[in-house]
Amino acid sequence: MTLPQVELWMEVEPSCNLHCQFCYNWWREGHKPSPLRLSTGELLAGLRDLSRNVQYTSVTLSGGEPLLRDDLGVIVEFFSAQSVSVILATNGILLSQSRIYELNNLGVGTFQLPLHSTSEDMHDQLAGGRSWRRALEALVDIREAGAKAVVVFVATNLNISGFPRVVALCGALGLSDIIFNRLIPSGMAARSQSYLGVPGDQEISDILFQADSIAREAHLTIHLGVPVAVDPEIQAKMTSVLPASCPISRGQRRWTIGADGTIRRCSHAEKAIGTILDGGLRHLLDELLVQIPYSRGDHVNCCHIISANLVRLGKN
């Protein structure tokens, strides 16, 4: 029997050693406690149950900061034993050379690290702590270890003009992929959006057009991490920018699993359909196999809040 394929985004650790101003984790808005963390045994038992009914195609281990979790290697081994592609999304602070080799040997093939500016001060201001140099060091170490490094850039009004320069730096590092995200005003970002600013579609289109020519020469691909309504004329001229789509849809394949085992449609949303330890699995399978209708209310922060903000600001 062919099992339905699922791509997981797992927030394995809710705590973090940075205070990114743009962080979209719902528990960072300040009104609610962080989710509890399942034990290693509970998490693996839930994932094992789930894997009897679905086929994992890839998993991204995220947080918070996943490297704060002592049993991260055990979780990586669980997925690599099933030949699942494992991506680690980290801020890089704890990513020593020995940790890179260890995790790579266990099955992490790709490391995702943030680089929000070629300016150390700008990056560290957005990240809420000193981390730019560590990210740069980790990117070099990942390349030397023979693993894949992918840079993640979060665009705010403060740093978006520097995106082409970040692309140039990634070219110098010999990277092949960079992810471009727009600020999502949920979590911590809901509190800081007024001073960070959410770039509009036209502004993003212009910057992506500049970055596209640099990316082409550097053999880099720019992946949009969130949907952006790029100007169609500009999109037609770009060859190195790949658009994104919202994961929320009928029969959706991309799912988020929280540190407490909750199953969610989108990493930007708090609303859960259950947990991997109870009826959430059945609901997820219903989605995959029967394609039950979904509620418009499930589109939470990303799409609705951004569009509402941009309309309010007169940007689109």
Binding site: R133, V140, E144, G171, E217
Partner: protein
């Protein structure tokens, strides 16, 4: 890191230092894209390093590809 026959292979610290200098050059050029001269030395270091980590030959045109990254793609004013 293994040694190249043709180029001195920079060590980790030299690579990181070159990236930091390149970042400053890129960042300092707020109103104009940096010229090649300003970043040539950094490109040479990084080109030699990438040739080793990617197990490929160094760019036959020296650092032409990376030079173009900075010199040939000027952002709109």
């Amino acid at each position: 890191m293994q040694k190249s026959d043709e180029l001195d292979v920079p060590n980790r610290e030299q690579v990181i230092a070159a990236l930091e200098r390149l970042s400053r050059v890129l960042q300092d050029s707020v109103d104009q894209w940096p010229n090649v001269q300003a970043v040539r030395e950094e490109f040479q270091v990084l080109d030699a390093w990438r040739a080793v980590v990617d197990k490929s030959q160094p760019d036959s045109q020296g650092n032409a590809r990376l030079s173009y990254v900075c010199n040939g793609s000027k952002p709109k004013a």
